[in-house]
């Protein structure tokens, strides 16, 4: 494993116990993501995308296998340790934005800073950080607005600013354009691509082939396994089929 490996999944298995039935959501997934990569993961519903996303995002733990995130084994961490990892190393972008509706854009963007453990940051410094993050997503004039006063595209940009504020090792985007019209969706994808060119590591889960076109590399997930042979850029119609499923 080189120093520039951000994600190293080794034989990750996730089995859910549904009453008497065991459901295997992930079945021995191996995945390596390098620093600065923009990876898209595609797959039909039920393929294990969400489970993979949850494990990559340290929201869930694998049943078996090891997950090294930026060199740290997070696969056996407890809830508290995982929360710290999420805070420091992962920025989430959700399909439904997941902003606090009663809080202003600034307050939403600053939420990961609130839960930060390392080092004190003055209020002034915080405001500057939030401001910079909002500028980087093109929202410098909406900082006192609440999500209800913003369009979907603007809300998602606030969410991206929130994902960036703690300078995480990994940005995880889960269907980032799923709730947006094509124009706003394209804007969001351009922001992500822009972040990628600045050297950020992005893993995006999507079923939209248009989105995966922005990515450097695309993987397909099927029945809890990664289809080794397929690369999205070669097979756009397969990706479309996956998205439609």
């Amino acid at each position: 494993m080189s120093d520039s490996t951000i994600i190293d999944l080794n034989q990750i298995t996730k089995i859910y116990q549904m009453g008497d039935i065991k459901v295997t959501a992930l079945d021995g997934v191996n995945l390596t993501v390098y620093e600065g990569e923009f990876l898209a993961i595609m797959g039909p519903s039920g393929s294990g995308k969400s489970t993979l996303m949850n494990i990559l995002g340290c929201l869930d733990r694998p049943t078996n296998g090891t997950y090294l995130l930026a060199g740290e084994d997070v696969s056996r961490m407890n809830r508290e340790q995982l929360a710290r990892i999420r805070n420091q190393k992962i920025g989430f972008i959700f399909q439904s934005y997941n902003l606090l509706t009663q809080a202003t854009a600034i307050q939403n963007v600053l939420m990961p800073v609130v839960y930060r453990r390392n080092g004190r940051i003055s209020n002034q410094e915080r405001l500057k950080m939030a401001h910079n993050a909002l500028i980087s997503v093109g929202l410098m004039d909406r900082d006192r607005h609440k999500p209800t006063e913003m369009s979907g595209g603007q809300q998602q940009r606030v969410a991206i600013a929130r994902a960036l504020i703690n300078s995480p090792a990994l940005i995880l985007a889960d269907e980032p354009t799923g709730n947006l019209d094509s124009h706003s969706g394209a804007e969001i994808m351009e922001i992500l691509q822009n972040l990628h060119t600045q050297g950020r590591t992005i893993v995006m889960i999507t079923h939209d082939a248009k989105n995966s076109a922005y990515a450097e590399r695309t993987l397909h997930l099927n029945d809890g396994k990664i289809d080794e042979g397929m690369a999205a850029k070669d097979l756009p119609e397969m990706a479309m089929a996956g998205g439609a499923a």
């Binding site: 949850n54 995002g57 929201l59 869930d60 809830r79 508290e80 929360a83 710290r84 999420r86 805070n87 420091q88 989430f92 959700f94 997941n98 902003l99 606090l100 009663q102 809080a103 939420m111 990961p112 609130v114 839960y115 930060r116 004190r120 929130r162 703690n166």
Partner: protein, 412 residues
């Protein structure tokens, strides 16, 4: 997470739903206010009682019939054996050293008339001349009863302040004749204002010579049984240090006179302190009862807080999920909700303290009730509110902390 941030986040959570927060706090507000008002009222009553008893006169001993099996006079063993009599009082006065005054009281209730005005059930006190000095009361006009009045069973009366007002209005009652029961007596004096002591309104009484009670107001068939029975003999002791010695002397004297032993004496000799202690133990029991009532209302208030916190956790599940995703640990989430519960209960406690102190003031102003706000009751009420907040906030906060972030994020 810094403390200020914890407070800010919790405060925002409450501020979002102000009316609900207020309603939630209501239980605690009422509980805390009730504690403070109730304790203030009982402390006020107690202070009044203590003051009044102290105002009765100083260095007093109260000799009275014991309450108990020996109270009923036994017919076979002679009348005077178990009855406190005027003779006993005179014996105390003449043979006990270290006392400066003896007063005898025998009270009856009669209809009193003057002209067309009549007052029913007036407390008539048959007493002796040193009453004003021993009881520490003063005359407003005229004179008090004299030894001459006692010796002659003179038909004279001294009116309490209120009685004089009721019967005569602003007219001068001195020298006027009033009818007490069926006896016409001449008013020779009016007492100054004294007020209510314990359960006795000193101002609505009438004082007549003790011997007049024996002669005219003792129902004849019992006259021989009750004879010159007196209710209370008050003994004023010269030196406070001599108190116990005087008590012993009186007990021995009475035992001798009634042919019994000190242990079997059918009379009690009590100091004012004893009486105050009795009164205090009564109010203490009352206060304890109030404390329980207040505790129950605080618990009810706490359950209200728990209820609303549980609703809040459910309502804000998604928010919890978002916070967890951005790095809130279970401890952060627990802290947030616990702080919210604590903030609710403490704010409620604070409002309750203000309401309690204000309520006590209102009771005094409008309810004409003496209240003393006890500082420790404020502390007690406030501390209980805090404990209630932590205790009843813990379960909902823990529930929030245990939420699975994936489930929480999926929550609508």
């Amino acid at each position: 997470m810094k403390l200020t941030e914890v407070l800010r986040v919790a405060g925002e959570g409450i501020a979002r739903n102000k009316l609900r927060a207020l309603l939630t706090m209501l239980g605690v507000i009422i509980g805390v206010a009730a504690v403070i008002i109730m304790i203030a009222i009982s402390a006020g009553t107690e202070a009044t009682i203590t003051e009044n008893i102290q105002n009765l006169g100083t260095n007093l001993l109260f000799v009275s019939q014991s309450m108990g099996p020996q109270q009923a006079p036994s017919r076979t063993s002679g009348m005077n054996e178990t009855i406190l009599t005027y003779d006993d009082a005179q014996a105390i006065q003449s043979s006990i050293s270290g006392i400066s005054g003896v007063v005898v009281e025998r009270d009856i209730t009669e209809l009193v008339k003057y002209g067309s005005t009549s007052v029913d059930s007036v407390s008539i006190i048959g007493t002796t001349p040193s009453y004003p000095e021993v009881r520490d009361v003063s005359l407003a006009s005229g004179r008090f009863l004299t030894q001459n009045d006692i010796d002659k069973s003179a038909k004279v009366a001294v009116l309490g302040y209120t009685t004089a007002q009721t019967l005569f209005g602003n007219a001068d009652p001195l020298g006027e004749k009033i009818v007490v029961g069926e006896v016409r007596v001449t008013v020779v004096g009016v007492m100054g204002k004294k007020g209510v002591v314990g359960n006795t309104d000193y101002d609505s009484r009438i004082y007549i010579p003790l011997t007049l009670v024996f002669e005219k107001f003792t129902f004849s068939p019992f006259a021989r049984v009750q004879g010159d029975q007196v209710g209370t003999v008050l003994v004023q002791v010269t030196d406070l240090k001599n108190m116990n010695n005087v008590i012993t002397q009186i007990q021995i004297l009475l035992a001798k006179r009634h042919e019994t032993t000190v242990a079997n004496l059918p009379f009690t000799v009590r100091t004012q302190e004893d009486i105050i202690t009795t009164q205090e133990s009564t109010t203490a029991a009352f206060r304890e009862l109030l404390a329980w009532v207040a505790a129950v209302s605080l618990v009810v208030g706490g359950i209200g807080i728990m209820n609303i916190m549980l609703v809040s956790v459910t309502e804000r599940t998604r928010e919890i999920g978002i916070r967890q995703a951005t790095g809130a640990t279970p401890g952060d989430v627990r802290g947030q909700f616990l702080t919210e519960a604590l903030l609710l209960s403490l704010t409620g406690g604070l409002i309750g303290v203000i309401a309690g102190v204000g309520g006590a003031w209102l009771f005094e102003r409008i309810g004409d009730m003496r209240t003393v706000v006890v500082p420790s009751s404020i502390l007690l009420a406030f501390a209980s509110a805090a404990i209630v907040g932590i205790f009843f906030g813990f379960y909902p906060a823990n529930k929030a902390a245990q939420l699975d972030p994936i489930e929480a994020l999926r929550h609508e």
